[in-house]
Symmetry: C2
Subunit: 228 residues, 2 copies
DNA sequence: ACAATGCTTCGGTTACGATCGAAGTATGAA
DNA sequence: TTCATACTTCGATCGTAACCGAAGCATTGT
C-alpha cells in the first residue's frame, strides 16, 4: 500500500508554524542569518538552529558560511515554487493566518515571489506583455515571441544570456492574492532585477513587499498599461 | 512578520504519515470508505475517523453519505494537483518511502493520477499527441488544435461537451516517476475513462496502478506511437 | 423488533517533538 | 591573548496530538 514518494516528510517540515514562518521569510529571496530567521519564526536561537538543521536535512534549505555568519536560503527555485503553490492552495481555501492587516495591501500590490514580481503589479505586467504580443499564452504555458525578445532587449535585458541557463525562460506562477498568473522563470527574475537596478523600486526590510518610487511607478505603469 | 496564507496548517495536515497514506490512496480517484482508508493508513477505525474529520475540516476531503457507508474523496482536483506537485518535489529529492519494491514497476508504467493517466504510458500518450499535431505545446501550456479535436471526436470523445465544463481542457501535470509532463485536465480524464470503457485497461484493487489487457495495450501503443 | 455493520465519540495512555536554559564551539575583533 | 559575536549541542521540561479500547449512534437487513 505504501506507494510513491514520501509526502509526509516534507508536509511535516512545512507543517510546523515556526518553520513555515521561516520559509515564508525566505520567500523574499534574500539569504538570512540564523538570528534573523529566529526572529521571523518567533523563537529563540537554539530552537531555530534545530529547525534549520531539519530543513537542511530535508533539502529545503541550503546554507552558506560567510565569516561568522551562516546564511540560509531556499535550496533552489523548485522550493519557492512549491511554497507558492501551497500558498495559492491555502489562500483559495480561506486559510489566511490573519484577517487582512495593515501590511496586507502593500503585499497585494507588489511583492517578491522568491525572485520575481508578484501581486497586482506582477499580474498586470504579464497581462500587459501578453496584450502587447511580447508573450504568447497557451493554456498555462508562456513563450516569448520574436517581437517580445527585441522589446526586452531594448529594455536592457539580455535574453540570449538568459536562454543559456538551464532554468526555463518563461513560467507562469499562480498568485495567491490575485488568483491569477504572473511571470516567473529567469525572465521574471531579470525583469524584477532591472526594476531594482533602475531605482524604480526597492525591497522593504523585514517583508516581502516591494515598494515603488513615485517616478518608478510612473515608468512601470507607462511601460505596462492596464489591459481592459 | 506574519504574512500571507497559512501554509503551516495544510503542511501539518499532510505531514502526518497516516493522513499522507490516506490521501495517497485517494489519489487513485476512487472514493473510499472510512474502513478502507483506515487500512490504507495502517491505523484503527477510531483513529482514522479522527484524521478524516481533520482533513475534512481543512477542506482537503469531501464526504458523501451513502447508505450506511461514508465515502471520502479528495475535495476537488486542486487537491490532487497539490498532492502530485508535492510528490514530484519529494521524488526529486530522493525522498522515496521505500526503495523500489515489487509494485513499483507497474506504477511507473501506468497509474492513475487523481483522474487521468500518468507514468510511462501517460507521458508517451502526450508526447504522441503533440507529435501528431493534435496538441500544441508552448512552454508548459497545452492547447488542443482543430486537427486534434476531430481526431479525438473520431475516438468517441465529445470535446464540445468537455469544453462546457469550467475545468480546463488541457493541463500538463508533472510526473514524479518520469519527471516529464503528462496530460491532465478534463481531456486527460476523458481519455482515461474511454480506455476503461473500451476494456483496454482496468484499475487494480488497492493500488493506483493501471493494468492494460494484451489487446488494449496493442491498441493503445498503435494509437500513440513512441516518439523518436 | 433484533441483530449486524459502519462509523463516531469518549477517556486515558503514550510518545514525540517543540521549546528553552545553559554550556560548548568557532570565527573575528581588540 | 582576551573578549565578543554567531551559532550549535546538551539536557530537561512540557504540551500536544496520535493512538486504541470501549461504549454510543445510525443505518440496513431479516
Amino acid at each position: 500500500m505504501k506507494e510513491g514518494p514520501d509526502i509526509a516528510q516534507i508536509g511535516a517540515l512545512i507543517g510546523d508554524p515556526a518553520r513555515a514562518n521561516m520559509l515564508t521569510a525566505l520567500m523574499g529571496g534574500k539569504a538570512l542569518t540564523a538570528t534573523e530567521l529566529a526572529a521571523a519564526g518567533g523563537i529563540t536561537l537554539q530552537t531555530a538552529s534545530a529547525h534549520l538543521a531539519k530543513l537542511e536535512a530535508g533539502q529545503l534549505l541550503a546554507q552558506r558560511k560567510q565569516g561568522r555568519h551562516r546564511y540560509f536560503a531556499l535550496a533552489d527555485d523548485s522550493v519557492g515554487k512549491l511554497l507558492e503553490s501551497i500558498m495559492g492552495f491555502a489562500a483559495g481555501r480561506g486559510h489566511l493566518r490573519h484577517r487582512p492587516g495593515p501590511k496586507e495591501p502593500a503585499l497585494r500590490k507588489a511583492r517578491i515571489c522568491y525572485d520575481h514580481l508578484a501581486g497586482d503589479y506582477g499580474v498586470r505586467m504579464l497581462d500587459s506583455l501578453v496584450a502587447q504580443g511580447a508573450i504568447d499564452a497557451v493554456g498555462d504555458g508562456l513563450a516569448l515571441t520574436a517581437d517580445g525578445e527585441s522589446q526586452l532587449q531594448s529594455m536592457g535585458i539580455d535574453v540570449r544570456d538568459l536562454r543559456s541557463s538551464r532554468r526555463p525562460l518563461c513560467r507562469s506562477c499562480l498568485d495567491w492574492s490575485e488568483r491569477r498568473a504572473h511571470l516567473a522563470g529567469s525572465l521574471g527574475k531579470a525583469l524584477l532585477s532591472s526594476f531594482f537596478e533602475k531605482g524604480w523600486a526597492h525591497r522593504t526590510a523585514g517583508s516581502r513587499s516591494v515598494v515603488f518610487s513615485p517616478e518608478g511607478e510612473r515608468q512601470f505603469l507607462a511601460l505596462f498599461p492596464a489591459v481592459s
